[in-house]
């Protein structure tokens, strides 16, 4: 697998709104905690170290 960087979300605006809604009412610390859990959950779902590596590289670019 290679990292998908082309559009892959069926409803981009809906996804974005959902992400913000998940953080609604959280303090910055609580938000950081939620983000951390989310990252761990998604990374486990992906599994493939090469894809995760590519995602980390893209994020740090």
């Amino acid at each position: 697998m290679t990292l998908i960087t082309e559009p892959n979300l069926p409803d981009p605006d809906g996804f974005y709104a959902r992400l913000l809604a998940a953080h609604k009412g959280l303090s910055p610390d609580q938000s950081q905690a939620l983000n951390a859990e989310l990252i761990l959950i998604l990374c486990n779902h992906i599994g493939d170290p090469a894809v995760i590596e590519a995602a980390l590289a893209l994020a740090r670019k």
């Binding site: 950081q32 905690a33 983000n35 951390a36 859990e37 990252i39 761990l40 959950i41 486990n44």
Partner: protein
């Protein structure tokens, strides 16, 4: 009953009055590593002098967890049975977050091994047993209250200056083994850097004596109710002694925290009562450091003097014993003219590889237990909170990855159709042999293992033919009908072939090893 720290007798050494003949090997330090080193060399027929500045065993327990590999090594040194009999055998580690168990590990899920995954035994007992063996061994000259104060080396010899209660004297040797611990004065005498990191965290380490019926399992808590926000560890030792580690934070005052009036209530909250005796209390800050190189001319660093890890994972003493295992046969072979001095370079490359692995594991555990503020803490807490909700996160919980031997990166012949458990670079896996064990019949000299339907190779090496059973089949054959293994004197698999190898291949593999090219 507190341990009885009997002083060992000091005898004025001969060298104080008449110069001594040069020795083969001088070992600096009679900790577990120096003592084991002398016994291992003696097993290979090489004499040594051990010099120790002190005359009692390790005060306070320090190391308690001895790994399966260490027990196999102890067995060759004559103290395996005694250690297992006295020690508390265990193999399960349980990790809790608050009061929920979030991760459980079984460190030896399979049977068919002589030695258990781990025993807990106070370091002073291990040293006592090793000293007893060393004093009875004619190849070992153990000198208490002999402090090494200077060292000089030339191309082919080392000179050591020693201070005794009766004055100073000097000794020469072909090799000096610096087994003088984490603060290694020999390292300082050679002006060597000890590179690595210090973790900004303080831990209270206490051994307490109490009547209790706790299981032998290693139990580790993140943020338990009895010690909010910090980590804690509880582990059983013989003689009704329990090891307790409590994380205190970097701002804790080490002097104040050592006082019984501070320590006792903390421990009482953990064990639920005040009915215990404090046996030993200390405040530690942990470090992971190593020497860049272990071999410096005629001086070789072994054990804590060469590398230091935090205790989560019990990789300190256990790694030191694996150093001994690796160096013993090589140094003996070089001194007896059976191998080129370059064989000693493989001590450095192999144990350097192991050291990096040990430091990586123990830094990762320490970082998980003591995350830096900010994102490190956020991820650590996210793992703990997820562990209660999703199985995948349990594998990320890290309260210490316990010591197992590394797989040395050897490049001897291999056949990947044979089982991974016995690949070159790994310790030859044990298996039952009638009433005995395979591991007891391996080691001390280079040998061949002929498994299944093969002829004995005729290359002048002893050939061992294990009795066939399910364990031998699973660990040495897999789907193959026959295999031949070349086993080093440290019980490490050097090379292996499915079926019958050509004798020339075996001999050239042995030559490669003894010339230090493997």
């Amino acid at each position: 009953m507190p341990y009885d720290y009997r002083p060992y007798p000091y005898t004025p050494p001969k060298g104080l009055t008449t110069p001594e003949d040069p020795h083969k090997v001088i070992i600096v330090g009679a900790g577990p590593v120096g003592l084991a080193m002398a016994l291992e060399l003696a097993n290979h027929g090489t004499a040594s002098v051990i010099l120790d500045d002190n005359n009692v065993v390790s005060v306070g327990s320090r190391a308690i967890c001895w790994s399966k590999r260490s027990l196999e090594i102890f067995d060759r040194l004559g103290i395996g049975a005694k250690a297992v009999e006295k020690g508390v055998t265990w193999k399960v580690g349980r990790t809790y977050h608050r009061d929920t168990e979030v991760f459980t590990v079984d460190l030896l899920p399979e049977d068919g091994h002589k030695m258990p995954a781990f025993i807990n035994l106070q370091q002073y007992y291990v040293e006592e047993y090793l000293i007893e063996q060393a004093l009875a061994n004619p190849l070992i000259d153990l000198r208490f209250k002999n402090e090494v104060i200077a060292i000089d080396q030339t191309e082919d010899t080392a000179h050591v200056s020693i201070r005794t209660p009766d004055g100073d004297y000097g000794l020469r040797a072909a090799y000096v083994l610096a087994c003088d611990g984490a603060r290694s004065p020999v390292r300082a005498m050679l002006g060597l850097d000890f590179e690595g990191e210090l973790f900004e965290e303080r831990f209270l380490i206490a051994d307490i004596e109490m009547q209790a019926d706790y299981p032998p399992d290693r139990r580790f808590w993140f943020a338990p109710p009895f010690h909010p926000g910090q980590s804690a560890l509880l582990h059983k030792q013989p003689d009704n002694i329990y090891r307790i580690d409590l994380q205190l934070g970097w701002d804790a005052d080490p002097e104040a925290e050592k006082k019984p009036e501070k320590v006792r209530p903390r421990i009482a909250r953990l064990v639920g009562h005040d009915d215990f005796r404090l046996d030993w209390v200390s405040i530690y800050t942990f470090q992971c450091r190593r020497l860049a190189r272990f071999v410096h001319g005629r001086t070789i660093f072994v054990g804590d003097s060469a590398h230091l890890v935090s205790p989560f994972g019990a990789r300190g003493g256990n790694a030191g014993l694996q150093d001994v295992d690796n160096l013993g046969w090589k140094l003996a072979a070089v001194l007896q003219g059976r191998a080129a001095p370059s064989l000693l370079d493989t001590y450095e490359t192999e144990r350097s590889f192991a050291t990096d692995e040990n430091i990586r594991h123990s830094s990762q555990s320490t970082r998980f237990i003591t995350p830096a503020e900010g994102v490190e803490t956020a991820f650590r807490n996210a793992v703990l909170s997820l562990a209660a909700k999703a199985p995948f996160a349990r594998k990320l919980v890290n309260s210490g990855r316990l010591s197992t031997p590394c797989t040395y990166p050897l490049n001897g012949p291999d056949d990947a159709r044979l089982p991974a458990a016995s690949a070159p670079g790994r310790v030859a896996p044990d298996a039952p042999q009638g009433k005995g064990w395979l591991i007891d019949r391996l080691g001390r000299e280079m040998q061949l293992l002929a498994v299944g339907d093969v002829d004995d190779p005729d290359v002048g090496l002893p050939v061992l033919r294990p009795k066939m059973n399910d364990h031998i089949r699973a660990r040495y054959l897999g789907d193959m009908a026959a295999a031949t293994y070349l086993i080093r004197p440290d019980q490490v698999v050097a090379a292996r072939w499915a079926g019958q190898p050509d004798p020339g291949t075996i001999t050239s593999t042995i030559t490669t090893i003894l010339e230090g090219r493997a």
